[in-house]
C-alpha cells in the first residue's frame, strides 16, 4: 500500500470515554488511529474495554441504556456521532463473536440481509451478483452454491462465521469490525478465517478484537493494548511485540495477566 494511505487514517479516535453507569468507565480517554487497508488488533485481558471500544466504532455500544459517551471518533474526517446510525453502520460493518446467521433466512437471503433490512430494493441480477461476489470473497461460494436457498443453520460453525463475514461485506463497507470472530471456532476453521482476513484487507480496513496474542501477532499490522479501560500502548505490531514501551504491555505479552 502506498504512503498516502498510511498517512491518512480511516478512523481517528479522539479522547473517547464511555461509561455504562455514571462514573464507571469502560473506556477511558482513548486516542488512536486506524490506517486504511490494514488489520488493527485490539488486545487486553477480559473486561479491559476492548469490545466496548470496538462497538463504539459503529455506535453499537449505544444499544445499552443510559450509556454515556465523551470524545469523538472521526471516519474519513467526519464525526461518526454526527452521522445517521444507518449510514455509519453501512460504512462500518461488524462480525460477532459467535456466528449469528438469521435462522429465518436462507443463505442467499442472509447475504443480502443488509439490503432487505434497509428496504433497498435490488433487481434480481444485482442481488445474484452481490451474493456470488460476497460468497467468493469469503471462499464460501464453492461450498454452498448448491444450497443457496436452504437455511444457513445447517452449516458448520466456521462456514456460518464466513457467511456472517459475507453478510457484512456484501454491503461494501469501508471498515469491518470483528469481535473475537474465531473464539467459538475450532483451529482449522480459525486458520481459514485468518487467511480470509489477510485477503480482505486488500479491499477493506479491518479492526479485530482478540484475546489471542499469537493471532494478533500472526495477522495484524497494528496493535493496541488496553488495560482497565485505558489504551496503554499502540503502534506497529512488530514493534509492540518485540520492544514494548510500557511495563504493563510487557507483563501481558509474557502471560502475566492470563
Amino acid at each position: 500500500m502506498s504512503d498516502t494511505h498510511t498517512t491518512e487514517p480511516v478512523l481517528k479516535i479522539e479522547g473517547l470515554s464511555i461509561a455504562y453507569e455514571p462514573g464507571r468507565y469502560a473506556v477511558k480517554d482513548v486516542s488512536a488511529t486506524v490506517r486504511r487497508n490494514s488489520i488493527t488488533a485490539i488486545m487486553g485481558p477480559s473486561g479491559c474495554g476492548k469490545s466496548t471500544l470496538l462497538r463504539a466504532m459503529n455506535r453499537m455500544h449505544e444499544l445499552y441504556p443510559n450509556i454515556e459517551t465523551k470524545g469523538d471518533i472521526l471516519l474519513d474526517g467526519q464525526s461518526i456521532f454526527s452521522m445517521s446510525v444507518i449510514e455509519l453502520r453501512r460504512k462500518v460493518g461488524m462480525v460477532f463473536q459467535r456466528p449469528n446467521p438469521f435462522p429465518n433466512m436462507t443463505i442467499y437471503e442472509n447475504v443480502v440481509a443488509g439490503y432487505s433490512l434497509n428496504d433497498i430494493r435490488l433487481k434480481k441480477n444485482q442481488r445474484d451478483e452481490i451474493v456470488e461476489n460476497a460468497l467468493r470473497n469469503v471462499t464460501l461460494w464453492d461450498e454452498v452454491k448448491e444450497f443457496l436457498f436452504r437455511k444457513g443453520t445447517f452449516l458448520s460453525g466456521g462456514q456460518q462465521q464466513r457467511l456472517c463475514v459475507a453478510r457484512a461485506i456484501a454491503f461494501n463497507p469501508e471498515v469491518l469490525l470483528l469481535d473475537e470472530p474465531t473464539s467459538a471456532l475450532d483451529p482449522i476453521a480459525t486458520s481459514k478465517i485468518e487467511d480470509l482476513l489477510g485477503e480482505l484487507k486488500q479491499k477493506y480496513t479491518l479492526v479485530l478484537v482478540t484475546h489471542n496474542m499469537s493471532q494478533a501477532a500472526r495477522i495484524s499490522d497494528d496493535s493496541m493494548f488496553m488495560y482497565l479501560g485505558e489504551l496503554v500502548e499502540s503502534g506497529r505490531t512488530e514493534t509492540l511485540f518485540t520492544t514494548p514501551k510500557d511495563p504493563r504491555t510487557e507483563a501481558y505479552l509474557t502471560g502475566k495477566f492470563g
Partner: protein, 293 residues
C-alpha cells in the same frame, strides 16, 4: 446504491420513531384500567370501611333501604362473608397444599417418564378448566351426594380442585431450579430419600413454594362463579361445613343484585381487591427477593 440508501434514511427514521410512540401509547392504554378501577373503588368504597364492616354480618335489604333513604352509612358489614371465605379457603388449603406438594415432588423426581408426563399434561388441562365447571363438579359430587344440599364443603371442594394444579406446577418449577449438586451433596452424606425431600428439597425451595401458595390463594379468594353453585351464601356467620355459607365475592354478588346495597358493594369490592392484590404483590416480592430458588 448509495443514493437509494440516503434517500430513505429520513423516512425510515420517521417510521421508526412513530412505532416507538405507538408502542408507548399502547402500553399506557393497557394499564390505564388498573388506575381507573383502583381509583373508582377507593373513592366510592372507603366510606363504608370501619370496625363494624369487619365484625357485623351483612344487613338485610330493609335496613339498607332505611339507611340509604335517610342518607346514613349502611349498617352492618361483611363478617359472614369474611368468615365463610376464610373457612372454605382454609379447608381447601389443608387438602390441596400437602397433596399438591407431594405430587409436585413426584413429577420433579420422575422428570420425563411417560406416566409423569401424562400426569403433568393432565395437571395443565386441569389448570385451564373454567372455574364454573368446577362448580358444576362440586355440585354433582358433594351437594347432590354427600351434604344433600348447598354447603361450605362443596365450596371448598371446588376451590381445592382449583388450587391443586397451581400448587403442583409451582412446586415442580421451583424444585427444578435447585442445582443438582445440592441433592447430590445430601445423598453423598448418606441421607435417606424422604429426609432429603423433607430436609433439603422443601426448605431450600421454601420461598418459591410460599410464592406459589400465596398466588394460588389470591386466585381462589376472588372466585365467585363456582361458589354460586356450591356454597350458595348465607345471611349469618356459620362454621358448619355441611351448611351453606357466605363468602366475600358472594356478598358482592348479592349487594350488586340489590339496589339498596350499592354503597356496600363498592366497599366490599374495594376490600376484596386490596386483600387479593396485596397477597399477589406479597408473593411477587418474595419471589423477586429469592430469585435463585
Amino acid at each position: 446504491m448509495d443514493n437509494l440508501l440516503i434517500n430513505n434514511i429520513s423516512r425510515r427514521n420517521r417510521t421508526n420513531a412513530r412505532l416507538k410512540y405507538i408502542i408507548i401509547a399502547g402500553a399506557v392504554i393497557t394499564v390505564v384500567p388498573i388506575f381507573l378501577i383502583v381509583g373508582n373503588l377507593a373513592l366510592k368504597g372507603y366510606r363504608q370501611i370501619n370496625m363494624a364492616f369487619f365484625t357485623e354480618p351483612a344487613p338485610d335489604t330493609f335496613q339498607a333501604m332505611m339507611a340509604t333513604s335517610s342518607g346514613e352509612v349502611i349498617p352492618g358489614g361483611i363478617a359472614n362473608g369474611l368468615i365463610g371465605s376464610l373457612l372454605m379457603v382454609l379447608v381447601a388449603s389443608l387438602v390441596s397444599i400437602p397433596l399438591g406438594l407431594m405430587t409436585g415432588v413426584y413429577l420433579y423426581e420422575n422428570g420425563t417418564k411417560r406416566y409423569a408426563n401424562f400426569i403433568r399434561s393432565l395437571t395443565e388441562i386441569l389448570q385451564g378448566v373454567p372455574s364454573i365447571i368446577l362448580g358444576i363438579i362440586a355440585y354433582l359430587w358433594i351437594v347432590k351426594n354427600i351434604t344433600r344440599g348447598y354447603s361450605a364443603l362443596a365450596g371448598s371442594t371446588a376451590l381445592t380442585i382449583m388450587m391443586l394444579p397451581l400448587i403442583i406446577r409451582s412446586t415442580e418449577e421451583t424444585m427444578k431450579m435447585i442445582p443438582v449438586t445440592i441433592r447430590e451433596a445430601a445423598f453423598a452424606l448418606g441421607t435417606p430419600y424422604y429426609k432429603m425431600v423433607i430436609k433439603v428439597l422443601i426448605p431450600v425451595s421454601f420461598s418459591g413454594l410460599a410464592t406459589g401458595v400465596l398466588l394460588a390463594l389470591s386466585r381462589i379468594l376472588g372466585e365467585t362463579a363456582p361458589l354460586m353453585l356450591t356454597a350458595l351464601g348465607s345471611p349469618s356467620v356459620s362454621l358448619d361445613l355441611t351448611n351453606p355459607v357466605s363468602a366475600v365475592p358472594l356478598l358482592i354478588w348479592d349487594f350488586y343484585n340489590d339496589p339498596n346495597m350499592v354503597n356496600l358493594v363498592w366497599s366490599a369490592s374495594l376490600f376484596l381487591m386490596v386483600f387479593v392484590l396485596s397477597m399477589n404483590l406479597l408473593s411477587r416480592s418474595i419471589a423477586s427477593k429469592h430469585k435463585y430458588i
